[in-house]
Amino acid sequence: METSQHWRLRKQRYALVGEVCPHCESKIFPPRDICPDCGEDAREMYQFSGRGEVYSHTTVYQAPSGHAENVPYPVAIVRLEEGPLVTAQLTDVGDQPIEIGTPVEMVTRKLGADGERGMLVYGYKFRPALVER
């Protein structure tokens, strides 16, 4: 992807900004402008809390170009507390065992390098929640 492609995604990628459906109250991430639940227009911005729990997880050892220097890295699908699922790398895991259900929170980190010029891409990752909830 090119610089402009990443720039367009900055709100969702740095701040986890999605949408809320004015018709059925569904919280939507990633933003998609049409509510997946009721099919109506949904363009109202919504700030997600960044808290959630692990829905599924794995580790990547064979990475695509742009991520090769980061292997191995953990990847999860996270169930955000507002409802949607989101795919993201886990970070700051340390010795903590990751399981389905582990509470996590969003942080901003370097995701990898993109394109022939190797532009660095930043965005959300999730780490084990620091505060017990």
Binding site: A63, I77, T87, G112
Partner: protein, 390 residues
């Protein structure tokens, strides 16, 4: 059964073994398969060429395969185009040919699946494969198709709690079926202990859960029954069901990622067209690029209840003599995974079964077959049902 003149039938099949074809380019691979299928059809002249391919633009720097391959195969001038639907490209291409034939616009179509992947290194191949995930929300996080499969498998084990090696049976059966297939990539049976000690690809996915992506080409000549000359050598095989359905590209955009809704929808539609139910299907060429997809596909198509697809791999149900044989020539796992050409291999193999020319891999009395290929982690699913007519 009487012949229907407007039925769409398989008039010829051809394929190259899946493998590392260092000496053959994409166009040469394609030509081999096309020539074999045309010869098998008794020399029918195709009026249109449908090319199924997913990786050529990324790995061979070549798009616009329709005219390239039509010209190279001696069919300059015919209508020709490429169909890209990731791993489901082959099934979707057959569907397009089927629609053109059913409409009466053409009488003979050639459908080719071709993939050339061994010219590039692993990280480039992984990056090319990752373009079939959601680039902005999955690939950017370093996700590849293997990652998606691992995430699904992890969740499957969590939700249903099957034994740790419950998917081993899919790999073991595939390898066993490939032993007697001279065209298979891996012709060696494996044992359960080998599965259990295999290197991890992406927890809980191990190397025996992953089909080996390699070069391949397969082709089908499809025709309206009325266009076939009399005196065909083999029993006629008719396409009696054809359906494609889609779901969200990203796993996280599906309400329930373990529910392959596109696979279920396309299977149901195809069965309805054929006026059949899952119990009537004699064999199922499903998409086993990862073993978890074999379990999920069996569930989606109605051969097993949710969370119980793995059980069919425990006691011979999916073997050549079981009640629902799958991957009868080794499937993607052991015949080899030809990427976007998978759907064409499936139809070639299913046709050979119904025509009684599967040799040592013959499913006894096979009269109906279902094929289903998946694009991405099931974002596209294309299902076909074939029936032996004569």
């Amino acid at each position: 059964m009487t012949k229907k003149p407007d039925a769409v039938v398989v008039a010829g099949v051809g394929m190259m073994p899946v493998g590392e074809h260092w000496d053959l380019s994409l166009r040469q691979l394609a030509l081999e398969a096309i020539s074999a299928a045309r010869l098998d059809s008794g020399g029918l002249r195709p009026q249109a060429l449908y090319v199924a391919n997913m990786l050529s633009p990324a790995l061979s720097g070549q798009s616009h395969l329709g005219p390239l391959l039509a010209d190279f195969a001696g069919m300059r001038g015919v209508e020709a185009s490429t169909i890209e639907a990731s791993g489901a490209s082959g099934g979707v291409a057959v569907r397009q040919a089927y629609l053109a034939l059913m409409s009466g616009a053409i009488d003979v179509a050639l459908v080719l699946g071709v993939e050339k992947v061994t010219d590039k290194g692993s990280s480039q191949v992984q990056a090319a494969l990752a373009t079939a995930t959601d680039a902005e929300y999955e690939a950017v996080q370093g996700v590849t198709p293997s990652t998606q499969a691992a995430l699904l498998m992890q969740r499957y084990f969590y939700e249903y709690g099957p034994p740790e090696d419950s998917l081993a049976g899919f790999s073991i059966t595939a390898h066993l079926n490939a032993v007697t297939n001279p065209d298979a990539m891996f012709r060696k049976a494996i044992r359960r202990e080998q599965y259990a000690s295999a290197p991890i690809v992406s927890e809980p996915l191990n190397t025996f859960d992953v089909a080996p992506l390699a070069d391949g080409a397969a082709a089908l000549v499809l025709a309206r029954a009325a266009a076939l000359p009399d005196g065909q050598e083999y029993p006629q095989v008719e396409i009696v069901g054809s359906a494609t359905a889609t779901s969200a590209l990203a796993l996280h955009d599906r309400p329930d990622p373990l529910d392959l809704t596109a696979a279920a929808q396309s299977a149901q539609t195809a069965l309805m067209q054929a006026e059949l139910s899952p119990e009537d299907i004699g064999l199922f060429e499903l998409h086993d690029s990862f073993s978890i997809f074999a379990a999920l596909s069996l569930e989606a198509a109605g051969f097993a209840e949710r969370g119980k697809g793995w059980k069919l791999a425990q006691n011979g149900d999916i073997s050549l003599t079981g009640h629902i044989p799958i991957g009868t020539f080794g499937g993607s796992k052991a015949r080899g995974d030809p990427g976007g050409a998978t759907g064409i291999y499936q139809l070639v193999e299913a046709s050979r079964q119904l025509q009684g020319r599967a040799n040592e891999n013959q499913v006894p009395d096979a009269a109906t077959a279902m094929t289903q290929c998946l694009g991405g982690s099931g974002a596209t699913a294309s299902t076909h049902i074939l029936r032996r007519v004569t």
